[in-house]
Amino acid sequence: MTTGQNPLRRFADETWPDERELAHYNRRLSEITNRPARPVWSGLWMPATAGALAAGAALIFALNPTSSEISAPQTLAMQFQPTGEAVSSRPTEQVSLTTNGVATLSGTALAPVIDLTSGSVKVQVEPKAGIDLRVRTPDGEVQVLGTIFSVDRGPLGTAVQVERGRVAVRCAGGVEHPGLVAGESALCLPTTAEGMLGRAAALAASGAPDGEVSAAIEAGLALASGATRAELLAMRMDRALQGGDPSVALADARAYLESGESARREHALRVAARLSAAQGCAAAAPYLDELRALGPANPEPELSAQCAPR
């Protein structure tokens, strides 16, 4: 052991274990690895009566903020519902949540799991405390690598923003962001047809570029069937009309009508009738006939006058 003049250097030398200490700690490690896991407090009150044990344990758990770390894993079970404003909670000493939406908390104090159905949750985890916290949404999963981040599930998908530390994000679609750091964000796109329909509608409502809306519609159509597919077709039909692409609009109107869905059938009939009329009254006639059959009010007077009933 060297004994330099600098007291910090000397402290460093003297706190580095010598062979005797290493042998001692190697024995301690063997003891730890050779005995079964047990709660730390279990052996401390053995001579006491059962009543004293209960009282002592209650006192320890009431006053010791870290008791969850050293006892059996604490099981978590909480439900959150939207209340119109953010709700803060602290399910464990190491985890703080601010929720505004529909979510459930499960798992254990060491491995909490938050299932976020809608809305947002902001999570603060004590860094490097060994907490394996995950936030799951239908669009993906966020794993804490420490420390403050927020997850917001809305129509556009699941957005993750990191304020401090690192998180890993695995989107259900396969995209991974293994190490998002402070200031970075990631978006997990919906992976269901319904989710993509919602995203497309939200993008359109927010005035997003056509390309983004179209991409969402096409992604949804690739997955969709039934009413969702019909709704996506109707959406693409309207956008094609606005964009001056009648052939696409007509094809989508026809596809919608073939789906048998009724929610936007009248609208699709009008579009199909108007666009088909360019090819002659015979092409428009089936759509006009069905429009007339839907009700007494004639929705397309000019076209009806031009193409009288058969």
Partner: protein, 203 residues
């Protein structure tokens, strides 16, 4: 060879859940773990107690390490959090009547007291007065003489934070040393000078 390179396969096996690998890894890193336990625990705690909890954490929680390169930082954080936990428990034991969370006597054991010279005990006493964040950076930067980037990785904070904590720790250490042990304070000005010569002055 850097320990992380030497132990990469062991670390990967430990992360995957191999308990034997975790034990072998702990034995390989034992000197460093013990040194951290002793340096961060302070004079009022028994590093033996801290070590036991650190070992249990490593053996049961290593699957949470995200990659082998992150192991040293994770290990340091485990030691740090367990040392801080024992500090809190010791504080409660002193201030809340009737709270007895451990059967262990936290008074100085012969093993510890015989291991440190008087001057080192004074350093330990001054370190004990520092806030945890300053104590950690002082131990890593000044006592273990690690680089800024290495300390930033171990603490999982930006390098700028390391530098600012270093400045605060240095000032606080000098003040506490003057108060607790004036003779120790007399030799302290040598620390920043030698540190800056070796690694470059903080801005």
């Amino acid at each position: 060879m850097h320990p992380i390179e030497r132990d990469r396969a062991l670390i990967a096996a430990g992360i995957a859940g191999d308990m034997r690998a975790r034990e072998r890894l702990l034995r390989a890193w034992l000197p460093q773990v013990i040194a951290w336990c002793k340096r961060l625990s302070g004079p009022k705690l028994d590093p033996d107690d801290v070590f036991q909890d650190v070992a249990e954490k490593v053996l049961t929680r290593m699957q949470t390490v995200r990659e082998p390169d992150a192991f040293p930082g994770w290990l340091f954080q485990v030691v740090r959090s367990q040392a801080n936990r024992h500090r809190r428990k010791a504080w409660m034991k002193r201030w809340i009547p009737g709270v007895t969370t451990e059967a262990t006597d936290h008074g100085p054991t012969p093993e510890r007291s015989t291991g440190l010279s008087e001057i080192s005990r004074q350093v330990q006493q001054v370190l004990d007065e520092l806030p945890a964040a300053q104590r950690e950076v002082l131990v890593l930067c000044f006592i273990e003489e690690r680089s800024h980037s290495e300390v930033a990785e171990l603490l999982d904070v930006p390098i700028g934070t390391v530098k600012s904590r270093m400045r605060l720790a240095r000032d606080r250490f000098a003040r506490e040393a003057q108060r607790i042990s004036p003779s120790l304070g007399d030799v302290l000005p040598a620390i920043p000078t030698s540190y800056e010569n070796a690694q470059g002055a903080p801005p």
